[in-house]
Amino acid sequence: MSKSLKILLVDDFEMVRALLRQSLLQIGYDNLTEAANGQEALEKIKNSQASGENYDLVFIDWNMPIMNGLEVVKACKATAELENIRFIMVSAEQDQKNIVTALKSGVSDYVTKPFSPKSLALKIERILERKTAA
């Protein structure tokens, strides 16, 4: 069954975007767009907002060329029209320090590679529950 979230997948590696895409399709999310770096992501986020259809959720890599994931998150959180977009940081790093830094910057959750469709589904459910409760 198709679920209605509009999701952006941001990673400089095609493989990770492909893995995210396949995993999300498996759990029913098919409104997916991709970006290969932070700058491209921010442009897509702004264009989407301008057309009246903000992204609900962004999976974003931390380390990317041109503009990293944390910079994208901070730019969105500093913009009133984009501050409600939820971000899930994707990284191979599982260090608590990095997770705390990401969460303090406005990231809603953190997923480490390799990930499974089930783990992504749980992360999304948790974020949606928090959104409903807020």
Partner: protein, 168 residues
């Protein structure tokens, strides 16, 4: 500090299983493993490499496959036939190596180590080999990846090698 014992084989095998299972739906199977300080010629032509850094470089992990194997593994994921070593293939190999390292690092750090973040590199070239110092020693773990061959090679530096030799 990494030592050549069953623990490190288990750590690597667990990281391999989780990485290939999650990324590609493959269950890697160890065919055999060995320890050697003799030079070897690899028949593989793509390697992902990453160092275990803890103040100093203590070990280097290589994942070695043939390009044909990598094409077969990544093709279904990318949804297209792959026939050349391009940025997507190199990126894929880097990501697989990165994930294996990240998982191994967690297990090693839970055992009192403090391995740091390290970025993988990908080496391409037919039958490339790795330079070793005279006192280095390497662990070779040969894998069956859904009918394809792969090797994980862990090269330990001088300090670890000497500990291993005293112990053996």
């Amino acid at each position: 500090m990494i030592k050549l014992d069953k623990f490190i084989i288990d750590v690597i095998d667990k990281a391999m299983a989780e990485t290939f299972g999650s990324f590609l739906g493959i269950k890697p199977e160890i065919k055999k493993f060995s320890v050697t300080d003799a030079p070897i010629n690899t028949k593989f032509d793509i390697s992902g490499a990453v160092v275990f850094l803890q103040g100093q470089i203590e070990a280097t992990l290589y994942l070695r496959v043939s390009k044909e194997t990598l094409f077969k593994l990544l093709g279904p994921l990318y949804g297209k036939e792959i026939s050349e070593v391009n940025a997507s293939v190199v990126g894929g190999m880097g990501e697989i190596t990165n994930a294996i390292y990240g998982l191994a690092k967690v297990d090693l750090n839970q055992n009192g180590n403090q391995y740091e973040m390290a970025l993988p590199i990908v080496i391409i070239g037919q039958s490339h080999s790795t330079m070793m110092e005279l006192s280095d020693v390497r662990l070779l773990i040969e894998y069956n990846l859904a009918g394809e061959e792969a090797v994980v090679e862990l090269i330990l530096g001088k300090t670890n090698s000497s500990i291993q030799r005293k112990a053996s």
